[in-house]
Amino acid sequence: MSAHPTLALAGVSKSFGAVRALRDVSIELYAGEAHALAGENGAGKSTLVKTLAGVHRPDQGMILLDGEPVVFTGPADAQRAGVAVIYQEPTLFPDLSVAENIFMGRQPRRSLGRIDRAAMRAATRELFGRLGVDLDPGRPTRGLSIADQQLVEIAKALSRDARVLVMDEPTAALSGAETARLFSVVEALREHGCAVLFISHRLDEIFALCQRVTTLRDGQGIASEPVAGLTHDDLVRRMVGRDLGALYPKQDAALGDVALRVERLTREGVFTDVSFEVRRGEIVALAGLVGAGRSEVARAIFGIDRWDAGTVTVAGRDLPPGSPTAAMGAGLALVPEDRRQQGLVMEMSIERNIGLTGLRSLRRGVTISRRAERDRAADWAARLRLKFARLGDGVGVLSGGNQQKVVLAKWLATEPSVLVVDEPTRGIDVGTKAEVHRLLSELAGQGIAVLMISSDLPEVLGMADRVLVMREGRLTAEIPRAEATEESVMHAATRRAA
């Protein structure tokens, strides 16, 4: 091990508006060492990765390459410095071939500097051979499963012969065999002197692959220590740092009639034969890995995407496929996964955003009443304890948690009987997260049926009366609250022990 770390962050801080994603974080990646980055969702892991990748520039602090301060002005700079990154969400060019995706900007050349396509395909096959993947290098990446997309990303990173390999949840969508192959390839790279940064929610993977672990909590570095000698519990305690029970206060509520019934719902190639029901007063969690088809089921139920077979029944009435208007009319509300893109109109004010779902009820005569709109917004802002300066402010100035409250207000104002929430607390600070949980629990107490999609296991275990687990487009388990543990849910989500 050389004296200087290959790549390091020293005292890095980074804020996005009011949200402080990283606060005075340091991390050192040494050649020949696999370093794990642990932390809950929203702890700042992805921001740290993007800082190393040159996507974000630190507000304060330095990036050190071989002990020398460097400034990455963009991803190209970081790549030139030998940093290869596998992002959590695959970032591929859907119209280009698999081989082109892997070698974009670094294609093998033949005479006159032209791209040597045959060599490019052969190199792709060779990479896939190392990974044990059987994909056609010539096909476009459009339509690949999330797992296959992730494998293309991995091949892309490996092809760079990087000095530093950063992997942000590379295994989230992979099968056991694929993960094992990836690990043996990473192990070989590490032995050749590559520095590895590895992020995973599966703690056993951290213990299997890594020598050091740095834990982040709410944007701050908690500890950086050797993995040897740590237990699972030690690591979880550093990540969470608080009593789980107190944060997720789902109150027991009397269960009423079935409010939402989904039967054998199928969208070809996306999800198959999904059946479940949600009763009034119940919170049902839909767990599973990214790409398992959970959000797609929610989108279909709400009528955004059409389904090919099956039925969706709300309060005894069948919904027509592909009609959000009918879904809303039947009493459905959907708080989407991506609040900036799908949940809010970022350019509009708080009151306008809350008013959007009820423009008809806000009409006085033929025009929208500004006063009715403002009253409605003020009412909901108070009920959800929204923190804001003025209702006329753009939603863009609010913190992530308060933005999420605006989305909730917008939908609760429609007085739904079924509320579908997709990742309700992603990227929200801990305090607001607890408030959102309290709110969901209260809503269930008032007799609303809640379907909650979440990748946050503690949240699933703390909030849900029942846990449904999806894997590769199918429901694989239904686990009652009493039997739901991190192990049982992960087992159903991955077909192997977590």
Binding site: A53, V55, G74, P75, A76, A78, Q79, V85, Y87, T91, L92, F93, P94, D95, L96, E100, M104, G105, R106, Q107, R109, G113, R114, I115, G132, V133, D134, L135, D136, G138, R139, P140, R142, G143, L144, S145, A147, D148, S175, A177, E178, E268, G269, V270
Partner: protein, 342 residues
């Protein structure tokens, strides 16, 4: 999940998907050629003069300028942008170069001046779109009017007359080598060069990458802004060249030549199979689209159809092209989804 475990039926399905995808990528050029063949055959059947030397030459000459513009436009559209200012650039360049040539400037400096004016317009577009992040539609709509206004200001009601222009220029516009006029040859050379660059060079592929997913391109270290700027420079420069060719072809120009051509160019590009959402298509397809639109125009004249129908037919063809793209895209997406792995 690996192919060893996949049932044999799936293998066949996937191979079918691959073949279909390949076919779709080539289908556009082939179906354009087929449509062209049918059109020519039918028209020639009704009126034998359609295939006379003069008829074919006219079509080639008219296509040359439109196709040249379409080549530049398709590079811009491939990056998920648009350049609506090209018609105005042709007008401005045709008049300004005509003016300097009439005052006795040499042919080569005049051509260079034309290309430089076009590239300067492209530079403005490109800087505004890539560095100031203004949507391309708005930027180039703005420059369309600004350049048009500039053209009118410079022309000030005057007209450039063929008799004032050097014979060498007019020879370029109307002469031929071995029976083939110069203008289509110029366009052909440009098209082959740009097509080869986009296909065979890493920086050329980056235009497709940007159009296919701007975010992924940024993360992959593609210099997105520089490439978008380059696309506008190319489109502007080729529009400048097209302006000179316009002058050479028609000799007599007033202040608003090629007025409205921007939409014709975009139509040719889309009919030629370049996706308006970027990332897909080729300059060959775009040039074929220009040839088809021009041929339809000529055929309608020969068939004595009211010129009003020409625009309606161009529009219908555009809608057909986009519908076909959409249907095929849905089909292919479904097949790819089912096919999964090889």
């Amino acid at each position: 999940m690996t192919a060893t475990a996949a049932p044999p039926g799936r293998e066949v399905g996937a191979r079918g998907a691959r073949a279909l995808v390949d076919l779709v990528f080539r289908a556009r050029e082939l179906s354009l050629l087929a449509a062209l063949a049918v059109l020519v055959a039918v028209t020639a059947g009704v009126n034998g003069n359609f295939l006379s030397g003069q008829g074919v030459e006219d079509i080639l000459l008219n296509t040359a300028i439109l196709a040249l513009l379409a080549v530049g436009q398709s590079v811009v559209v491939i990056t998920r942008n648009i350049d609506l200012s090209v018609g105005s650039v042709v007008g401005l360049v045709a008049f300004v170069t005509g003016d300097v040539l009439a005052r006795g400037a040499g042919l080569v400096p005049a051509v260079l001046l034309g290309v430089a004016i076009g590239a300067a317009c492209g530079l403005v577009n490109g800087l505004l779109v890539s560095f100031c992040r203004v949507p391309a539609l708005v930027v180039t709509l703005g420059t369309l009017y600004v350049i048009q206004g500039l053209d009118h200001y410079i022309a000030h009601g005057r007209q450039i007359n063929a008799v004032d222009l050097p014979p060498a220029l007019l020879a370029l516009g109307n002469g031929a080598v071995l029976g083939v006029p110069y203008l289509p040859l110029v366009t052909l050379a440009v098209m082959l060069a740009v097509g080869a660059y986009l296909r065979a060079y890493p920086s050329g592929r980056e235009f497709y990458a940007i159009g296919s997913s701007p975010e992924a391109a940024r993360l992959a270290g593609v210099p997105v802004r520089r490439r978008v700027l380059a696309a506008y420079l190319l489109s502007g420069g080729l529009a400048g060249l097209a302006g000179v060719l316009w002058l050479a072809r028609f000799g007599t120009v007033v202040g608003d030549s090629a007025n409205g051509w921007e939409l014709l160019v975009v139509s040719a590009v889309v009919v030629g199979g370049v996706a308006i959402t970027g990332g897909v298509g080729s300059v060959y397809g775009a040039a074929l689209g220009a040839l088809l639109l021009t041929t339809i125009g000529s055929a309608l004249v020969v068939l004595r159809v009211n010129p009003f129908w020409q625009q309606a037919i161009t529009g219908a063809l555009l809608l057909l092209a986009i519908s076909v793209d959409r249907v095929l895209a849905v089909r292919v997406a479904r097949l790819l989804r089912k096919g999964g792995r090889r």
